[in-house]
C-alpha cells in the first residue's frame, strides 16, 4: 500500500535573499490532522517557510505541495482555493486598524465569500466566543485591545471559515506567560475541534511542547531533526540540544 499523500510538503525548497540561501534544499512534510511545530533560532528562515507555504513568496528551486499539488505558479482562482482552505495567525496579529473587531473576524466572509453582513456578524460573534471573547469587544477597534486579546481576535479570524489547514506564526511572541499559556490552550482546542492540520513556527519551546504533535528543527536552511513532541527532551541531536538547553 502506498504512503498517504501529506497534507503539506516542502520538497527540495531553496530560497535566497540577495544571493544568500535562507532555505537550502529543504524537505519537510506534515500529514493531515497533525500539528507540526517548526522550531529554530531567529533568522533561520522559519517565517520564509511559512510564507512559501502560503504562496506569499515563491521558491527559487523546489516546490511546496498541498495535497500533492504544487503551490508555486498558482494564481487567480487556484490561489483563491488555497486561501479558502487556510487560516493564518500572524505574528503581530495583523488586524485591520480601520475595522472593528467583528468586521476583522468577518472580513473573509463579507469580502470574499459573499456572506451578508448580518449573517457574517453572527458567525464572527460565534468565532469570538470560541476564543473566549464576549460580544462586548465586537465593536471595539484593534488599537483598543491588549496584545493577548488581539491574538485571540486574530485566531477567531483564522478559524471563522472552518479551514483545513491552520498556520501559526510565532503565536505567543510578545505575550506574558499566563496569556501565552491561554493562547496555546486555545490553539490546541481549535485544532482539535476543527480536526485540521496545523503548522506553527516558534522559538518558544514551552509553546511548542503544548501545541505540537510533531516538532522539526530548522537550522542553517535545512531540517536537522524531526520527531514527536515528547522526543524533544530526549534526542541527542547536537543542534536541538544546543537550542533546547540554551533556551530552557
Amino acid at each position: 500500500m502506498s504512503a498517504p499523500i501529506p497534507r503539506l510538503e516542502w520538497k527540495a525548497v531553496t530560497k535566497r535573499f540577495g544571493g544568500e540561501p535562507v532555505l537550502d534544499g529543504l524537505n519537510l512534510s506534515v500529514e493531515a490532522g497533525r500539528s507540526l511545530v517548526i522550531i529554530g533560532g531567529s533568522g533561520q528562515g522559519k517565517s520564509v517557510m511559512l510564507k512559501l507555504a502560503l504562496g506569499l513568496l515563491r521558491p527559487d528551486a523546489g516546490t511546496v505541495l498541498l495535497d500533492g499539488k504544487p503551490l508555486p505558479g498558482l494564481a487567480g482562482r487556484a490561489q483563491r482555493r488555497l486561501y479558502d482552505r487556510a487560516g493564518v495567525l500572524f505574528q503581530g496579529a495583523a488586524l485591520f486598524d480601520s475595522l472593528t473587531v467583528w468586521e476583522n473576524v468577518a472580513f473573509r466572509l463579507t469580502n470574499a465569500d459573499g456572506v451578508s453582513p448580518a449573517k457574517a456578524r453572527i458567525r464572527a460573534l460565534a468565532a469570538l466566543e470560541q476564543v473566549r471573547l464576549t460580544d462586548a469587544v465586537a465593536n471595539l477597534y484593534p488599537a483598543e485591545l491588549s496584545g493577548g486579546m488581539q491574538k485571540r481576535v486574530a485566531l477567531a479570524r483564522a478559524i471563522v471559515a472552518d479551514p483545513d489547514v491552520l498556520f501559526f506564526d510565532e503565536p505567543t511572541t510578545g505575550l506574558d506567560p499566563v496569556t501565552a499559556s491561554a493562547i496555546n490552550a486555545l490553539i490546541v482546542d481549535q485544532v482539535k475541534r476543527l480536526g485540521c492540520t496545523a503548522v506553527s513556527i516558534t522559538h518558544d519551546l514551552a509553546s511548542a511542547r503544548v501545541i505540537a504533535d510533531d516538532i522539526a528543527m530548522l537550522h542553517a536552511g535545512a531540517i536537522v531533526w524531526r520527531g514527536r513532541s515528547e522526543e524533544l527532551a530526549t534526542t541527542d541531536n547536537r543542534q536541538v540540544r544546543r537550542f533546547v538547553d540554551g533556551g530552557a
Partner: protein
C-alpha cells in the same frame, strides 16, 4: 590590468547601475498601474471602500483646494492687471484669469494640494499595512489587495479631482472677480459677463481631462510607494515623502505633455 578592473570605468558603471535601477522602477510602476487599472475595471469591486475613499480624498480636500484657488485667482488678477496696464489692456483681465484658471491653475493647483494631502496619506496607510503584515493577511483572507486597497483609491481620486477642479475653477475665477470689483473698480456684472462669454467648454473640459490624469497619478504614486514600502516606521515615512514628491513632479511633467497635446488641437 583587465578592462573589468579599470578605475576609469567606475563612473560609467555607476551611471549604468543608476540607469538600470531607474528603468526597473519605471517598469515596476507601469506594471503596478496596469494591475491597479485592471482591478478597477474588472470586478469584484468594493463600492463601500471606493465611497469611503471618495469622501476622504474629495470631500475633506474641499477647504484646502477652495482656499488655494481663491487666493491664487485674486493674485493672478492683480498680476494680469499690472501686466495688462503696460499695454493699456487692463480690460482683458477677466478673460485671461478665466483662461489661466480653467486650463492650467485650477487642475494643477487642486492636484498639487491633493498630492501633498492625499498621496502621502495613501502611502502612509498602505505602507503601515505592509509593515504590520495586514496586506499579507488580506491575501490569505482570499481578498486581492489590488481590488480592496488600490482600485478604490484610484477610482476615488480620478472622480474626485475633476470635481475639485470644477470647484477650484469657480472659486478661483471668483477670487479674481472679488479683487477686480472691490479694489480695481471693475463693474461686477460686466466682469462676470466677459468671463462667461469668453470661456469655451473646451477650456473647462481640457482642465477636467488633466484632472482625471492627475488623480490617477496621485493615487498611483501613493499606492505604489506604500505597497512597496519596507523598513518599518522609517520606511513608511520615506514612502509618504516619496509619494508626495514623485506625484508632484509627474503632475508637472504630465501637465506639459497634455498642454502640448491640447494646444495642437
Amino acid at each position: 590590468m583587465t578592462l573589468a578592473g579599470a578605475h576609469w570605468l567606475t563612473p560609467v558603471r555607476a551611471t549604468g547601475r543608476l540607469a538600470l535601477a531607474a528603468l526597473a522602477t519605471v517598469g515596476a510602476i507601469a506594471l503596478f498601474a496596469i494591475r491597479g487599472l485592471t482591478a478597477m475595471f474588472i470586478g469584484p469591486w468594493f463600492p463601500g471602500q471606493a465611497l469611503r475613499q471618495f469622501i476622504a480624498i474629495g470631500f475633506y480636500s474641499l477647504p484646502v483646494v477652495g482656499l488655494t484657488a481663491v487666493f491664487t485667482g485674486a493674485a493672478l488678477a492683480l498680476n494680469i492687471y499690472t501686466g495688462g496696464g503696460r499695454f493699456n489692456a487692463e480690460q482683458i483681465m477677466p478673460q485671461i484669469v478665466a483662461l489661466g484658471i480653467t486650463r492650467e491653475l485650477g487642475p494643477v493647483l487642486a492636484a498639487l494640494m491633493l498630492a501633498g494631502r492625499v498621496s502621502a496619506t495613501i502611502a502612509a496607510e498602505i505602507g503601515a499595512m505592509r509593515a504590520t503584515e495586514q496586506i499579507d493577511a488580506m491575501r490569505t483572507l482570499s481578498t486581492d489587495p489590488f481590488r480592496y486597497l488600490v482600485a478604490p483609491r484610484m477610482a476615488a481620486a480620478m472622480i474626485a479631482l475633476p470635481l475639485l477642479t470644477l470647484v477650484a475653477d469657480i472659486v478661483g475665477i471668483g477670487g479674481g472677480w472679488l479683487v477686480a470689483t472691490l479694489t480695481l473698480d471693475f463693474n461686477p456684472v460686466v466682469y462676470a459677463r466677459s468671463t462667461v462669454d469668453f470661456v469655451e467648454a473646451w477650456d473647462v473640459g481640457s482642465g477636467l481631462i488633466k484632472a482625471v490624469v492627475f488623480g490617477f497619478i496621485i493615487a498611483l504614486m501613493g499606492c505604489y510607494q506604500g505597497y512597496t514600502a519596507s523598513g518599518g516606521a522609517r520606511g513608511v515615512g520615506r514612502a509618504a515623502t516619496q509619494a508626495m514628491v514623485s506625484a508632484g513632479i509627474l503632475i508637472f511633467a504630465m501637465d506639459y505633455v497634455l498642454t502640448t497635446l491640447f494646444t495642437e488641437r
